[in-house]
Amino acid sequence: MNESFVEFNNITKKFPRVIANKNVSFNINKSTVHALLGENGAGKSTLVKVLYGLLKPEEGYINFNNDILKINSPSEARKNGIGMVFQHFSLFESLTVRDNLILGIEENISYSKLQQQLEDISSKYNLPLDLEAPITSLSAGEKQRVEIVRILLQDPQLLIMDEPTSVLTPQEVESLFITLKALVKEGRTILYITHKLEEVISLCNEVTIMRNGEVIDSCSTENQTAKGLATKMLGQKLEELKTDYSHIKDFINFKAKKISCTFNDPFFTDLKNISFEVKEGEIFGIAGVAGNGQSELMDILIGENCSIDSGEIIFKKNNIESFNPQQRRDLSIAFVPENRLGHSAVPELTLSENILLSQFPNNNFTNHGILNKNFIEDYANEVINNFNVVTPGSDAKASSLSGGNLQKFVIGREISSNPKLLIISHPTWGIDAGAEYSIRQSLINLAKNGTSIIVLSQDIDELIEITHRLAVIYNGSLSDSFITKEIDITKLGLLMGGKK
């Protein structure tokens, strides 16, 4: 039965600033569920895109079914018997299930034959479908079923599933697993991308663990424990830490108390009872794999979403959960959301104009609604100089800056207001090493001067380097917090993978 079905041979894929896949080689055996496990940015998606014909690798090749795979597009991949179910569905919401299925078929077949095929697939793989129902009326799990049936109509030998359980309820997960097991039994092979350790152990036969674009291990899941997988996924990250705890005061600056928020949307993660506290001068980290409620929590912390179900946000004895972002800024709270272009900065505007997006009480940017252009320009130039932003000047458009420079500018804008609390999401996401170092250093310096900082990040190295305490968010719940210096990396990995 150990017949190799897909072989990755030295796949290397480079992007302008990162090498996403470095000499990736491993085999997937026929009739298995093969897990591809790794943190965000480990290179899983890139590898899968290469396999599905969306990307071309610089080096290496793939053997598929004992032949070298030569494809340029997903449709060629499908012709070769490779199907993929994406995390985000591509269905026509207003059409019925049947119409959506018909649209997915590339050759002409008769209506009655299609009906027959659908019934076969439905009963064989535990995929009940109401063909007349419009897509809008379906739950996320049902929509996923439509996607799977659509792929199965083309009779693929290899099925790629990209984090399929992220939008499902526990019951739906269970029924998905029954389907996947039935498919494997029939001789099909499944490549299952995930970061959930539990699923690897309960569902998959083999697992390949990736970290920083490289394969760390590829083995059978027998004899593997969640703990062991977690360590492999994260690596040994605890080196000597120089984090300074001495300046932290006992005064609690910020408190989140039992925040709960339901969204009724499969693409949002409901938040459950989130509580944490941040002391004066402390950097508090929130770790976790993307999509576990970070952006939802960020919106609530910034004040872009003020409609939480229950809970309190307390800043220096003020209840601020109903404050909008401007009211929070008036209390000297600064924010840097994850997305620079179009969120914390407007690409079409100049740097000076972008300064105006966040006004703090002592800025004097406006006088009775009229702009104080000199003040604004001075502030912009100050940020550019103090934070080494590389740009021709304050009248350059934000879109002309590199990601790292724009991030330095945005963070500089917020830090220059001398905030009492800074809430920052993914501070060094997608930027070069030099900018990364200077941003981390400026956050550490800010905390030394008494500012409390909340950092949400997927980058464990970063959190371990700069935070004093951290907690892990998983599926909308936040774990207890740990002193970063004393943290056990295995435990961290388990928490991120959803195991207590």
Binding site: E304, P325, H343, S358, K373
Partner: protein, 357 residues
């Protein structure tokens, strides 16, 4: 081997200079296309273009007429700039203009036998309120129910026109008017004072210029103007900045409606002097072209309003002297918009013929 169809690629850096020249290029291309069309229709293209674009403004009276037409266009387009900068597509300026004429003109009809200095200012305020209330309807619907303002504002144009129709044939019909669908004339103090004897340009031109200067100040120098711009470019950034987008929507609609309402009132109390069915030759719609041709910038809008006003005059002259249908004027307006949008697109994107593998 090249592919038959080019791919559209975003230009990394769109040229700022080209952005300014786009309207001029659009006008030149319009003239070239126009002369081709005239030639195909069997006219001497140069003579036709001369009749269309030069002879209408070769007299003082012609220039005055140009300004009479450009005034409402510029005023409405400036109002529309408040909406368009905020990415609100208010297409209903024509209805807001009509409502302004009804409200302001209604005051004029009510006081048709009064002569007072205060009558005209009162009518102007009435016009502003009328237009602005009418614009509040799509704003309210958008804020409360997230309706598409393009549809609602456009549909309300026809409602407003029917209300106007009802009034001039019904309750407001001139009792001494031999059953013609028009109202009584306003009293002299309810008319826009003329700037020069014998010419039709009136004080509305001055009001428009003042409002355009104020608008320029608001766009360039105030936090409100900045808020409109940010929420137009990126609603998410506006939310991050803590701008209240619902209030911005009300304000943008309200200001636009007020400007259109004043333009409507200025039409009825200016050149016309009473209310009848056809108070506006689609100024409210044409102003959309003016606003974009003028790059939503007050100075550009003044320039664009003169160009577009000329197509109105040219069409009249061409009909008179060359028996070319007056609809050719609309053809020119359409051509300008077409080339403008096309040139805009090409400044941002380019075509690439990729070699296929």
């Amino acid at each position: 081997m090249t592919n038959l169809f080019p791919t559209i690629v975003s230009r990394a850096q769109s040229s700022n200079i080209m952005n300014i020249f786009v309207p001029i290029i659009a006008i030149i291309l319009t003239l070239i296309t126009g002369s081709i069309i005239f030639s195909l229709m069997g006219f001497n293209a140069l003579f036709a273009l001369h009749t269309f674009f030069i002879s209408p403004i070769s007299t003082t009276y012609g220039i005055s007429e140009l300004l009479v037409k450009a005034t409402p266009l510029a005023l409405i387009a400036t109002g529309l700039a408040f909406c368009f900068k905020n990415n609100i597509y208010n297409i209903g300026a024509e209805g807001q203009l009509t409502m302004g004429a009804i409200f302001g003109g209604g005051i004029g009809i009510f006081f048709h036998d009064t002569n007072s200095f205060w009558l005209l200012p009162l009518m102007i305020i009435g016009g502003a309120i009328g237009g602005s209330l009418w614009a509040m309807i799509p704003a309210l619907l958008k804020n409360k129910f997230n309706t598409n303002e393009i549809l609602t504002s456009l549909m309300l144009v026809y409602v407003a026109l029917l209300i106007l129709d009802f009034l001039v044939v019904g309750p407001w019909r001139d009792p001494d008017g031999y059953s013609f669908p028009k109202t009584r004339p306003f009293s002299d103090s309810g008319r826009m004072p003329l700037l020069f004897d014998g010419l039709r340009i009136h004080i509305g031109l001055i009001i428009t210029l003042i409002l355009i200067i104020i608008s320029w100040f608001v766009f360039a120098k105030t936090i409100f103007g900045f808020q409109l711009k940010v929420s137009g470019f990126s609603p998410i950034a506006a939310r991050y900045a803590g701008f209240n987008q619902k209030i911005l929507i009300y304000l943008a609609f309200g200001i636009c409606g007020a400007f259109a309402g004043i333009a409507g009132l200025a039409e009825v109390s200016g050149p016309i002097g009473l209310i009848y069915r056809d108070i506006s030759p689609n100024y409210g719609f044409t102003a959309i072209i003016v606003a974009f041709l003028g790059r939503l910038h007050p100075l550009g809008i003044i320039f664009a309003s003169l160009v577009i006003a000329l197509t109105y005059l040219g069409a009249e002259d061409a009909q008179l002297f060359m028996q070319i249908p007056a609809a050719v004027g609309f053809l020119f307006q359409g051509l300008v918009l077409f080339y403008l949008l096309g040139a805009d697109f090409l400044v941002k994107y380019k075509f690439e013929f990729k070699k296929s593998k």
